[in-house]
Amino acid sequence: MRNIVKKGWSTFRTIFTGMGITIRHFFSPAVTLQYPDEREELPKIARSKLFVNIDDCIACDQCVRACPVNCIEIDTVKATADVDLGRTSDGKQKRMWVTRFDIDMAKCMYCDLCTFPCPTECIYMIQDYEYSEYDRNNLVYNFSNLSPEKIEEVTRKAEEDKLQKEQQAETETVTTKPGKTAKQTGSSSAKSIPGAKATSGAKSIPGAKPKTVPGAKSIPGAKPKTVPGAKTIPGAKPKTVPGAKSVPGSKPKTVPGAKTIPGSKLKTVPGAKSVPGAKTRTVPGAKTIPGAKPKTVPGAKTIPGAKPKAVPGAKTIPGSKPKTIPDAKQIPGAKAKTKSGVKKVPGGGKGSQKPNSEE
């Protein structure tokens, strides 16, 4: 009996002790932050998001090797002797074009291992933690500040350079070769663009030449019109890109603090880049004939033509060109294709409009 009373008393005592503690907490101020309105300042070393200062990147690939999850992908092109890429902020000579510097923040595990080996300290963690996306592909951040055309150009230049070194004596008449390549590209694009096949080289060649002149600056637009094979490229872009990636309304990914060329801000669609690159590679003959500008071959023409145009960093929106140039209509598939390209192709974003207007 006494035991029960004792137990009962201890039950009440401990319960009231606990209630005393909770009521004390009831009147003490809250320790929480009202998050979207108030936020804590993260320490400078907080690891929230990777950022690359591409101007300082020497493309040494160290970060790629350090990454345990392979979330960094770098493509480089060796710069030709005639170009000076400048120096990094700590004085290292840059020798590579960084044609692609993609970080997939969806894969990243924030271990910070990539930042330690970087010789120029151009890759580092920033304190931006609010970058959720509806589509995980939008978490692939592209830090390369080269436009697709520029990439194409430097790639070709590098390959030409290489090729020249390897086989300087070799000169070829290319009539057959480019034709073949044109066909190849045409066929490869056939599945993708219904209209592409129909508008074979025949139509494009005559119309293409005159057009290229006014559109000289605008490379991407020019190409599709002139060469069937080339045309497939812009069209191919949206195709190669899984539809998910190119959300119609999706604005270019803005990298905070990126003072780099606006074009770099754009979310690059991997497929977009690879296609032009692939083309140049498949048409080795074309490169060899820089002088073969004459219209002789559609495929050949486009490439040399593209080169001079590309230099000023022309970044006209691919889609805009077809509209301006009447011939675009001639190619049945072209309009639709390029239009879809407007939305989807990286060059079509708002970023590219700026350089355009400057011209």
Binding site: G18, M19, A30, Q34
Partner: protein, 337 residues
């Protein structure tokens, strides 16, 4: 004449319903605020402006939009019926509560009896919902709940009976009226709990029992989320779940108000004739009830929960003998004084 009386009846029926609905919405919000403050948080803050007062309305809107899911092999009829019975039971019991000196739904002479009888329906609806869900967790919750509610009705009734012995009436209005005014000393209110020392013990037993009846911590076994996921409500979603929630909070208020009537003078002002009157009566009545509700919330966010066998031990081995003993003592006290 008949239509008028029907309309009047509906009006009388509607008032407690509105009270319950408004109360439930704000009690759910209030519970979250109490939890938040006790846990050094702020609770809901965003919806509606000041301290997120409209949070429950937003939740209600959300629940209305939710899909009403009925498990494939559930007993569909019983599954649908259970929430309604539960709410109806707790709603019907409000009929006999004297909200104010001039307002009572139905001035029954057997008010207490009616109230206790009708709240027994709650356990039936819980079993119904748990069984019909065809889910093992639900069944567990339902069985626990049935055992718990049936057991705890005994000490509840015994402690209520002790009050009735002192008050001498089953009519809650009468019970309240006899607590008006001040006691012989002139400064303490004439509440029953202050009239008889054993009624304090009766109140403690009563309060513990209503905690168990209303499934509140430390007796929230039927829906203990860490063991039974959500007990008998596991399979419910959308508005049906909201009905359970509503009924649960209504039940909480009902039992607290009953406690206020039986022990704390119902609608009587604690200051004698000061701040008395029908409107003030309603204010005091709700205030007393809500204070008890707050204590229930306070306990909830402090204590762990009992185990099912300990719950039964507490009921049958401690509370019931104690309440019987207390009953006898109160009766003796009444005989002597």
């Amino acid at each position: 004449m008949i239509t008028e009386s029907i309309l009047l009846l509906l009006l009388f029926a509607l008032i407690p319903l509105i009270i319950i609905l408004i109360y439930a919405l704000f009690a759910i919000w209030g519970e979250r605020k109490v939890a938040g403050f006790i846990q050094d948080r702020l609770g809901p803050m965003r919806v509606g402006g000041w301290h997120g007062w409209a949070q429950s309305f937003a939740d209600l809107l959300k629940l209305i939009q939710k899909e009403d899911i009925i498990p494939a092999n559930a007993d569909r009829f019983l599954f649908r019926l259970a929430p309604f019975i539960m709410f109806a039971a707790s709603y019907a019991a409000f009929a006999v509560l004297p909200f104010s000196s001039s307002f009572i739904g139905s001035n029954l002479d057997i008010g207490v009896f009616f109230l206790l009888a009708i709240t027994s329906l709650l356990s039936i609806s819980v079993i119904m919902g748990g069984w019909a869900s065809n889910n093992k967790w639900s069944l567990f919750g339902a069985m626990r709940s049935a055992a718990q509610m049936v057991s705890y009705e005994v000490p509840t009734i015994m402690s209520v009976l002790s009050v009735i012995v002192v008050a001498g009436s089953l009519n809650l209005m009468t019970v309240t009226e006899m607590q008006s005014g001040n006691d012989t000393l002139g400064f303490l209110p004439n509440w029953l709990i202050l009239q008889n020392p054993f009624l304090i013990i009766a109140f403690v037993i009563f309060f513990i029992s209503i905690l168990a009846e209303a499934h509140r911590v430390p007796f929230d076994l039927p829906e203990s989320e860490s063991e039974l996921v959500a007990g008998f409500q596991t399979e419910y979603s959308g508005m049906r779940w909201a009905m359970f929630m509503l009924a649960e909070y209504a039940d909480m208020l009902l039992l607290s108000l009953l406690g206020a009537v039986l022990f704390f003078g119902g609608w009587n002002s604690p200051f004698g004739d000061f701040m008395a009157g029908p409107a003030w009566g309603f204010f005091w009545f709700m205030l007393k009830g809500l204070l008890l509700v707050f204590v229930m919330m306070w306990i909830r966010w402090t204590l762990p929960r009992y185990r099912v066998d300990q719950l039964m031990y507490l009921c049958w081995s401690i509370l019931i003998p104690l309440s019987f003993l207390n009953f006898v003592l109160i009766a003796l006290w009444e005989m002597i004084f």
